[in-house]
């Protein structure tokens, strides 16, 4: 399996972090365990650790995202790496420079890692295939495909609150069809072996053949919430309104909004998650988003430790790979 997976190098080390599909339970648990250790970094008066000193990480954002970019930036800084924020939304690609030319330029600047955010599905895979073998690529979200660090920070948040995954019933509400977060979460939840994953949304927001991902589809929120341990909301993008996949924001909230009354149908200790930014009064009621069962801000906080784990695990083998390749070529 690992030999065909572009995320692993030929020594079996996790070299890129592009998707959670195909990563086994041991790999995911290893990332969560490493992240657990990074949480203590915040206890120190000097919050940096010298692990990635001298490494250069480039944030390649072809799509705007202040939150994700900031979280990666902070994670890299806490690891003492140098970070370049390269705003590609408004720069050279607009001038006609091809993606590959941009990559060559960044390679020649001696970057060690690219964090890629792109509106096209598969962009991070494409870049990983075309960069020098010593460079690590981390997917910061690509199109409707995958957002693996968000998936891992969601798993980390769940594990922090619930311990084991085995007996959990997880409900994901909203725009499953267009959500890379939902896809990554479902993949990780299955690998980590939760008891049940339920998705609930209007038909227009449920992808075809979604059952093949191992989830149960519900159209009525009240039924889906019964006995839930974990409730995950998703952001309803404004463009869904324009493309008429949902009638209106108000209509969506009336049928699928997570309100206090509906939350009572879940287990009393259920946690409420959301990748942010939340649309209050659309996916979630304000008093639920700010309520005591919500762990939305914790997710943001854990996102730093989880990204520190991903950066250091993927970059930890760079030197070994370089040495092995030099040994082969000499």
């Amino acid at each position: 399996m690992k030999h065909n997976d572009p995320q692993f190098n030929r020594f079996g080390n996790l070299h890129h972090f592009l998707t959670l599909d195909g990563l086994d339970k041991q790999t995911l648990t290893g990332i969560l365990d490493a992240a657990e250790n990074f949480t203590s970094v915040n206890d120190k008066s000097i919050k940096n650790v010298p692990l990635l000193r001298g490494k250069t990480v480039a944030n390649l954002f072809f799509e705007n995202s202040t939150r994700t970019r900031t979280a990666f930036e902070l994670a890299a800084k806490r690891l003492s790496a140098d970070i370049l924020n390269i705003d590609l939304v408004s720069s050279s690609t607009k001038k006609g420079e091809s993606l590959l030319d941009t990559l060559r330029v960044l390679e020649s600047l001696q970057c060690d890692m690219f964090i890629v955010r792109h509106s096209d599905s598969g962009a991070a895979h494409f870049i990983a295939e075309h960069v020098a073998s010593t460079i690590n690529v981390v997917n910061g979200g690509d199109g409707q495909h995958s957002h693996p660090t968000q998936g891992m920070l969601d798993m980390f948040t769940i594990r922090r609150h619930k311990g084991d995954f085995e007996n959990l019933r997880v409900v994901i509400i909203g725009d499953i069809k267009h959500s890379r977060v939902a896809r990554s979460d479902i993949s990780a939840l299955r690998t980590l072996g939760v008891a049940e994953i339920r998705v609930v949304a209007p038909n227009t927001l449920i992808p075809e053949y979604v059952e093949e991902l191992g989830v149960k589809v519900y159209s009525k929120l009240e039924i889906a919430l019964k006995d839930a341990d974990v409730i995950m909301g998703l952001r309803l993008q404004n463009e869904r309104m324009n493309s008429a996949t949902v009638p209106s924001m108000g209509e969506f909230f009336r049928t699928y909004g997570l309100t206090e009354d509906r939350l009572k149908l879940a287990k009393s200790d259920a946690i409420v998650m959301h990748p942010g930014p939340t649309n209050r009064g659309v996916e979630i009621a304000a008093n639920v988003a700010d309520g005591k069962q919500a762990v939305i801000l914790e997710q943001v906080n854990y996102g730093i430790a989880v990204r520190m784990a991903v950066l250091s695990i993927t970059m930890g083998h760079g030197e070994a790979v370089r040495e092995a390749e030099m040994a082969v070529s000499s």
């Binding site: 250790n37 203590s40 206890d43 120190k44 000097i46 010298p50 990635l52 695990i313 930890g316």
Partner: protein, 186 residues
């Protein structure tokens, strides 16, 4: 293979306790409060024994030094041993830093770097159960349970269940195994 049983190791620990007790009560003018920190995982095992008998106010601190090691770029992230826990302020404290084996001094260097990221201790005293040969840095222990002369390939391991020590010369030590023991004389 040489084995030091619970009794032998126990007597070394007792020697260390006495030296530490002496150090704490007779600090000749230095009255900074004392706290103890063990380096995970072997140093925590040794630290627990010493901490129990010394009647210190603060609980035993635990350091995971894997983010401060100097071999990250060649061997990557080390086996996960749980987060550092220092549930007291380092500032102005006399820290007794405990490890099971002192060899190259690199672990202690990493631990001191981490301690200084928590605060500014008034003093650090290094206590180790075993001091073996193989220094690579100018770091010496203040309190030593037992000094053992060993060739480089010999391997010292502490069994925390009964606090016995095994010194062995594995025929072919797998690199993974070496990392997993966590105290490969670094």
């Amino acid at each position: 293979m040489t084995r030091y049983n619970t009794e032998q190791v126990g007597s070394w620990l007792q020697d260390m306790q006495q030296s530490l007790q002496h150090l704490i009560t007779d600090t000749s003018g230095d009255d900074s409060p004392v706290a103890m920190i063990g380096i995970k995982t072997g140093g925590v095992d040794v630290g627990k024994h010493l901490h129990k008998s010394l009647d210190l106010h603060e609980p035993l601190g635990e350091l995971n030094i894997s983010f401060y090691r100097d071999d990250f770029s060649t061997v990557g992230l080390h086996p996960v041993v749980g987060p550092s826990q220092v549930p007291f302020s380092i500032d102005g404290r006399h820290i007794i830093l405990v490890d099971d084996v002192l060899s190259t001094g690199r672990t202690v260097r990493a631990a001191m770097n981490e301690i200084f990221d928590y605060g500014r201790p008034s003093r650090i005293t290094l206590a180790v159960l075993i001091q073996r040969t193989g220094h690579e840095l100018p770091i010496r222990a203040d309190i030593i349970g037992q000094a053992i002369d060993l060739s480089d390939n010999m391997h010292v391991s502490l069994d925390p269940s009964d606090m016995s020590i095994t010194v062995s010369e594995p025929n072919r030590r797998e690199p993974d195994r070496r990392e997993a023991t966590g105290e490969q004389g670094l």
